[in-house]
Symmetry: C4
Subunit: 250 residues, 4 copies
């Protein structure tokens, strides 16, 4: 096998699609957001990328194997074509991150992509009340439009830079003159965070002019809040009173 191989699973005709990336990362924000788009907007799998830099394994679902890969789906977001990059894996080494990103950019360029968004989370270390979305761009021309959509630009955040495919899509994209922005939802960093994914998608909606239903993400957010409450109860050594219980107090 070559270091990077592209499998074409469907032939589609797209108009300068916008590339949206959501691979696993902090709080699974990007992955949750990208998968939500696929569910709500009926994404069609068009490409798989295999690589000798991905884990040497197959996943198994109901006894059927699938070689480790990242996937690109095409979908129509209220008139805007999107290419959505998702997957369960990141590359296993430094050269793999660069090569995988280059391969994805090759695919996007073949479709005449002129803009990309990398979705992810930025860890704050504490539980979030209001979910801000922090931005980074590889060209200054994108800044105003993002600020108008509510994105915050901060002097020194994220402090450690942006690591992995999200960062390289902007870095290698710039080398190809492909404008790109990273939208990073604030998240504690401790838990899978559907609310942060929603905040990030709301910015993307504003930027691209489409709308999706968020009820399934909200359901997952409720589930996560149950998890958080149970963890807090365990830490306090006794169950916290539920609303049901409180009704009888006093």
């Amino acid at each position: 096998m070559d270091d990077f191989e592209i499998e074409e699973t469907a032939t589609v005709d797209l108009e300068s699609p916008v590339l949206v990336e959501g691979l696993p990362g902090v709080g699974h924000v990007g992955k949750l957001a990208a998968e939500h788009l696929l569910e709500e907007l009926d994404g069609e799998l068009i490409r798989r990328v295999y690589s000798t830099h991905l884990p040497p394994q197959v996943s198994v679902d109901e006894g059927r194997t699938q070689l480790a890969c990242v996937e690109i789906h095409a979908l129509d977001a209220d008139g805007t074509d999107l290419l959505v990059l998702t997957g369960d894996h990141q590359a296993q080494d430094t050269a793999g991150h660069y090569g995988l990103t280059d391969t994805v950019l090759d695919i996007a360029e073949a479709f005449d992509t002129e803009q990309l968004y990398a979705l992810g989370g930025v860890p704050t270390g504490e539980l979030i009340e209001e979910y801000d979305v922090v931005g980074a761009v590889n060209t200054d021309t994108q800044r105003e439009e993002l600020e108008d959509a509510g994105v915050e630009f901060r002097g020194d955040e994220p402090a450690g830079g942006i690591v992995g495919v999200s960062g390289l899509l902007l870095g290698l994209g710039e080398r190809r003159d492909l404008p790109g922005a990273c939208l990073m939802g604030e998240t504690s960093g401790y838990l899978v965070d559907p609310k942060s994914a929603q905040a990030t998608l709301e910015v993307l909606q504003e930027l691209l002019g489409f709308e999706v239903d968020f009820s399934s993400l909200e359901d997952r957010a409720d589930e996560m809040e149950d998890v958080v409450r149970k963890i807090q109860e365990m830490e306090q050594g006794q169950p916290a009173p539920s609303e049901e219980d409180l009704r009888y107090i006093g």
Copy 2:
């Protein structure tokens, strides 16, 4: 030396041989099973694969060295030709797993192989009473035949997928349109498990229509049970009564 080199140790004429893999892994199930086939069915060494991704070492047997390799034997299983892949090593890195698997598939394709079975163990974390064999396939067409042979397909097992050459034989095999199944004997995961190897081979016998004697595997299973009993005694701080002892009680 090239990254992967094939040494031809014998020239043989085979009829669409079935590839059977049994490299080291969980409970040494695959390795025990494959080596049992070689012993019982008089395997002939036909190929060695050397690689700069295998450990940089020679093994020594009675003062004679052998460069690290994996080996392919040919044998006749009651009329069905088999290619059996065994060895003491797995590749040392991600690219090595992919390249070694590709090299083995190249050899199998040169012999017009049309089916492969990867043998291994699936860890359960507890001692096994009845040894089920769990399956995974890279084409849905193989499923019914395997179920008829007693293989179980489970929704989410093995949870972490199938790692290493066993998994990649199915994953890269699918990319070459070569049907493949993984037969995974349940095993505790703590000990070398000849009984799990036997359970896996019994499924393979059923699938390919051959029979081997299991007495040597059963002897090894008895030895392992002695080991388990001794460990349990040590944990309890005193020897457990043997059957001999029990005869005098009461």
Copy 3:
């Protein structure tokens, strides 16, 4: 992307420039020294080197991304042209160190560089009173000139050799017949050390015949001394009396 890629950010005409390297290392001595040259002598960025062996990330400054790279600035040091190599990263693996160094030497050779200086620190394990500069050369012809400039040559220092790009610039430089010296300011090894950087630059000034102002480095040294004093106070469990306090004693 190729393993190593050179971006030309400005076209300049230089006369046999001297290559000066100051990448991150012990006490950040080399990096502080090189960056001080850039500030005081108005360095112009002429080349960036990108590599799949550098960390897979972008840095972010006020929301603007920059792909991981090392940078070469050109500057005029009182009539002597310098190429100054700086950056925030070292290569991530062995092959990367060699390849990055070779790429930098290719750039230097294209400008007809005939001499290189690698700047760094040599750890002593204790706080330094008088900052000696220890030297190493890849040709014996350089030794006398360095000794005249106050550089010390010691039998077995640095004991572990010189690791990374600093060492390889001398080692690979020798293979290309490019004379090179490493100037290593003594430093405790525990702290960022502007005084050691100054001592190293003072030797370089003497060797190349230029002069820079050191007041900004001295300010940073004062800041570091404040840090050291506060650490010492914390270790003693109470604040040490300041000069202000002492005036009232007795």
Copy 4:
């Protein structure tokens, strides 16, 4: 730089020289033995091998740098030409071990080498009284001559095989039809062991028909015994009486 580069430091005319390897390893047995040959028989440095798989560093001796390498010296052992491979480093990764060994074998083949000996130690875990030399060969034809020279062949030793360049010289040598033997002096494995090096060299003398003086190795062995005695004293909490002391007792 290429992955492996050969520097020719002298042109020599040799007659089917025997390759002798002594790189760093258990008890530094091989390295001590090879360096003793160089000292006693006036070895001439003829080749250096550089590699991007060796540590990215230069060593420094009296201020003069040397890029990491392995070295081949030529010498005349009472009429037999030897190529002696020594150095301070092993390769940093698996592919490096294979490539470095291949490069050394290329050099040896260019000189029409027809026999190689890899020198090393085999750890026993306890202090040695009588230093046996254990052997391993890559062709059975060498066995008798080695046994006649006092080499022992043992069923399952060394248990873990022979790792690194020593092992690969035999393994890759066999792939090139170059007979090779590994001579492994028994050693505790805890200390640099000149006595084990001497035992190994005495076998090599017998095999190749030459003689060297061992007084400098014996001096180093005496020094090591002093070290061992001091360690034993420290463990017992008080100095052991010296012979001087004992003279006054009773």
